[in-house]
C-alpha cells in the first residue's frame, strides 16, 4: 500500500498506542514508548512486520505507545495505513494482509 495522506489511529490512553502515518520518500519509523527499555525492540519488530505485510515501502510512521500489546499495535498501524488510503471502511482483507 502507498501512504497517500496523513492519517492517525489510536489514542494516548494507557494500554493503547497512537499511530500517525504521512507520505514520505523513504520509510522512517519513530517510536516513543512508556515501556521502551523492556519492549522497544519488540514494538519496533511488530511495527516493521505489520508495515511489511501491508506492503508499505515509504512514509513517516510515528508510534506513541502507552503500553499497548502487540495485537493493539498491529490494529493501530493497520488502521492508520488504511485510513491514509481512504480504504478503512469496507472490504478489509481480514486474514489476508491483516493477520
Amino acid at each position: 500500500m502507498v501512504i497517500e495522506k496523513t492519517a492517525m489511529a489510536g489514542t494516548l490512553e494507557s494500554s493503547d498506542a497512537q499511530v500517525t502515518v504521512s507520505p514520505a520518500d523513504t520509510l522512517e519509523i519513530v517510536i516513543e514508548s512508556s515501556v521502551i527499555n523492556q519492549y522497544g525492540r519488540q514494538i519496533k519488530q511488530t511495527v516493521v512486520e505489520t508495515l511489511g505485510r501491508l506492503g508499505v515501502e515509504s512514509g513517516l510512521v510515528s508510534v506513541v505507545d502507552k503500553g499497548a500489546l502487540d495485537c493493539t499495535l498491529k490494529a493501530r498501524v493497520e488502521c492508520a495505513v488504511f485510513r491514509s488510503c481512504d480504504a478503512s471502511m469496507e472490504n478489509i482483507p481480514w486474514g489476508g494482509v491483516i493477520q
Partner: protein, 519 residues
C-alpha cells in the same frame, strides 16, 4: 559477593563492617549498643526557643558544609518544609555537600532534585524516592550512592550510629515556644508524627518548624521540649489536602475489587482470623479495598479486629467507628479524615516508626502482626518483591514498611494485577529486590493466586476452603504470554543506590540506567 537473594553486591561496598544480606532473621539475637545524640546542657531559665527565621535556627544549630539533615514526610506530596529549609541552606547560606536523610522524598521536592543536579546535595538516604529526585539519582547525579532503607531500617540505622543526623528539621502542625510539638492543633494538620519522633531523639540538633504557635505547654506532644533546640514559625508548613494522592485512593476498579475480595477470602480461610487479630494494609488501591471485604467476613465469624496499624486511612477509621476495630495504632495518616480521627478518638493513637517496625528493638509491633496486605511493582518466581524501580530502571517508589511488615507478619499477602499495561508484574527476576521472597507468603493476582511453597500450612488452609491456587511459575508464564518476555534492562557499572535490608545488610544495589537505543 552473592547474597541470600542471589544478588551480586560489589566488594567495594563491603567495608566498615558492611555485610551482604544473609536471610531474614540472620541478625536475631545480636547484641547492639545504641548510639546517642550530642546534647548541650541547658540549665539557665530562658523565655523561649523561638528563632525569627529558618536561617537563624540553622546558624544557632551550627549548620555547615557536609552536614546530614533530616525531614519527615507526613505531609507527603503536600510538604513545604523540606524545600523551604534546603532553599535557605543553599541559597541564603551557601551550604555545600549536603546529605539529606529524609524519611521519604517525592513530588513535593523537585527543588531538591535541582540541588542534586547542581551537585549541592551529594547524598540521599530515605525510605522512598519518587518524582524527579528518583530520576536524578538513577541518572547518576549523586556523588555517593543513595541509601534506601525500610521504615524500620531507618531508626535501626540511627540507633546503630550508621545514620547520624546533624540537624533534624521537623514540621509540626502546632508547637509551643519551647518545642512541645504535635501533628494536630494547627491550621495544617498531618496527624501522626510517627516518622518524626525517632529523629527528634537521635539528631544532634532538632528544629521544630510550625505555622501555628500554641500556648505553652502544647500537650500532649509528639515531639517533646527536652529534645528540641529551636522553634521557627513560618506561614505554611504544608497542605494536608495533598497527603491523600492517588497512591492512597480507594478503588472502584472491578479488577482491584475482585482481587481484594479473593484476598479477604484467604484471610478468612487461615487460622489467625480470630477475635483480636492484627492487620495492616499498604496504601495501594487493591490493598486498601481488602479491608472493605473483611467486614462481612468478621460478621460471619462474629469477631472483631484487635488492632489495625501502620498508615491509616479514613476507611479504617470508619470501620473502627462502626465497632469492628478495637485499637488503631498509627504511624501516618493518609487523609484528612484519619488526621481528625486520630485527634478525636481515644482508641486511635499515635506510634513512632521505631515502635512500629525497628528490628533493632526489643520487639516492634510488626513482630505481632497477623495479616499484612501489600502491593508490588514486580514479584518474581522466587517471590522476591520490587517496589522501588520502575520498568525503565528508574527509582520511583518506596519500600516504606514493606520489608518490615512482610518479615514480621504471620501471613503476608501481595495483591497485584498480573500485568499493568504491558508491564508483567509477575516476572522471572525482579529489577530490584526490596523485600526478600522468604517473607512473602501469598500473591493474589487477577489471573490466580500463588502461595509460597514454603508455606505448606497456608496451602492446606486454601485447599480446605476450596480456594483455587496456582504456581508462581504459572502466573509468570501467563504474564509473559500476554505481554511478551521483557528484554533485560541495560545498566552502567556505576551503583547509584544501595538497598539496605532492614537489619542493615545489603539486599541489592541499583545501577545507573543506560539511555535506550534501538540497535
Amino acid at each position: 559477593m552473592i547474597n541470600a537473594v542471589g544478588r551480586d553486591i560489589p566488594d567495594y561496598l563491603l567495608v566498615d563492617g558492611k555485610e551482604v544480606y544473609q536471610g531474614r532473621f540472620a541478625k536475631d539475637g545480636q547484641v547492639m549498643k545504641r548510639d546517642a545524640p550530642t546534647c548541650v546542657m541547658n540549665e539557665k531559665p530562658v523565655a523561649d526557643k523561638l528563632c525569627a527565621s529558618i536561617r537563624e535556627a540553622c546558624e544557632k544549630c551550627g549548620a555547615h558544609d557536609g552536614m546530614t539533615i533530616s525531614f519527615h514526610h507526613a505531609f507527603r506530596n503536600g510538604d513545604y518544609t523540606a524545600s523551604m529549609v534546603c532553599k535557605v541552606l543553599v541559597e541564603e547560606m551557601g551550604i555545600k555537600d549536603l546529605r539529606v536523610a529524609a524519611t521519604s522524598l517525592g513530588d513535593a521536592h523537585n527543588l531538591l532534585a535541582d540541588y542534586i543536579e547542581q551537585g549541592i546535595i551529594v547524598q540521599v538516604q530515605a525510605s522512598g524516592v519518587r518524582g524527579r529526585i528518583g530520576d536524578a539519582i538513577s541518572h547518576g547525579k549523586l556523588k555517593e550512592p543513595a541509601i534506601i532503607r525500610s521504615h524500620g531500617g531507618r531508626p535501626r540505622a540511627m540507633m546503630a550510629g550508621e545514620l547520624h543526623i546533624d540537624i533534624a528539621f521537623l514540621a509540626a502542625a502546632s508547637s509551643d515556644k519551647v518545642g512541645n510539638a504535635s501533628g494536630n492543633g494547627g491550621k495544617n494538620n498531618c496527624g501522626s508524627m510517627g516518622y518524626a519522633m525517632p529523629d527528634s531523639r537521635y539528631a544532634d540538633k532538632v528544629v521544630v518548624i510550625t505555622d501555628t504557635l500554641a500556648p505553652f505547654p502544647n500537650v500532649p506532644a509528639s515531639i517533646k521540649c527536652e529534645d528540641v533546640d529551636c522553634v521557627v514559625v513560618v506561614d505554611e508548613i504544608g497542605d494536608p489536602k495533598r497527603i491523600g494522592t492517588k497512591e492512597a485512593r480507594v478503588t472502584q476498579d472491578p479488577r482491584d475489587l475482585m482481587m481484594a475480595e479473593r484476598a479477604a477470602d484467604i484471610i478468612a480461610a487461615t487460622p489467625w482470623f480470630v477475635d483480636g487479630f492484627s492487620y495492616q494494609t499498604g496504601a495501594g488501591g487493591p490493598s486498601l479495598a481488602v479491608t472493605r471485604f473483611l467486614e462481612e467476613r468478621m460478621d460471619a465469624k462474629e469477631i472483631k479486629m484487635g488492632v489495625a496499624f501502620g498508615g491509616i486511612t479514613g476507611n479504617m477509621c470508619d470501620l473502627q467507628d462502626r465497632g469492628y476495630v478495637r485499637k488503631i495504632v498509627d504511624t501516618q495518616d493518609f487523609d484528612t479524615k484519619a488526621i481528625a480521627h486520630l485527634h478525636d478518638c481515644p482508641d486511635h493513637v499515635e506510634m513512632t516508626v521505631s515502635d512500629y517496625a525497628n528490628p533493632a528493638s526489643k520487639g516492634a509491633y510488626v513482630n505481632y502482626l497477623d495479616y499484612m496486605i501489600l502491593a508490588a511493582l514486580e514479584v518474581d518466581t522466587k517471590f522476591n518483591v520490587n517496589v522501588i524501580t520502575g520498568s525503565d530502571g528508574v527509582v520511583r517508589g518506596a519500600p516504606g514498611g514493606h520489608p518490615d511488615t512482610a518479615a514480621g507478619s504471620k501471613c503476608c499477602i501481595i495483591v497485584t494485577p498480573l500485568v499493568r499495561g504491558r508491564m508483567p508484574t509477575i516476572c522471572k527476576d525482579v529489577t530490584t529486590v526490596t523485600t526478600p521472597g522468604e517473607c512473602i507468603d501469598v500473591v493474589v493476582t487477577d489471573y490466580g493466586t500463588a502461595v509460597n511453597p514454603a508455606r505448606r500450612d497456608i496451602i492446606d488452609c486454601l485447599d480446605a476452603a476450596g480456594i483455587p491456587h496456582v504456581s508462581i511459575e504459572y502466573l509468570q508464564e501467563k504474564a509473559y504470554s500476554i505481554v511478551g518476555e521483557p528484554d533485560p534492562l541495560k545498566w552502567e557499572d556505576k551503583v547509584v543506590a544501595i538497598v539496605e535490608a532492614r537489619d542493615g545488610t545489603i539486599l541489592d544495589v541499583i545501577r545507573q540506567i543506560k539511555p535506550y537505543t534501538f540497535d
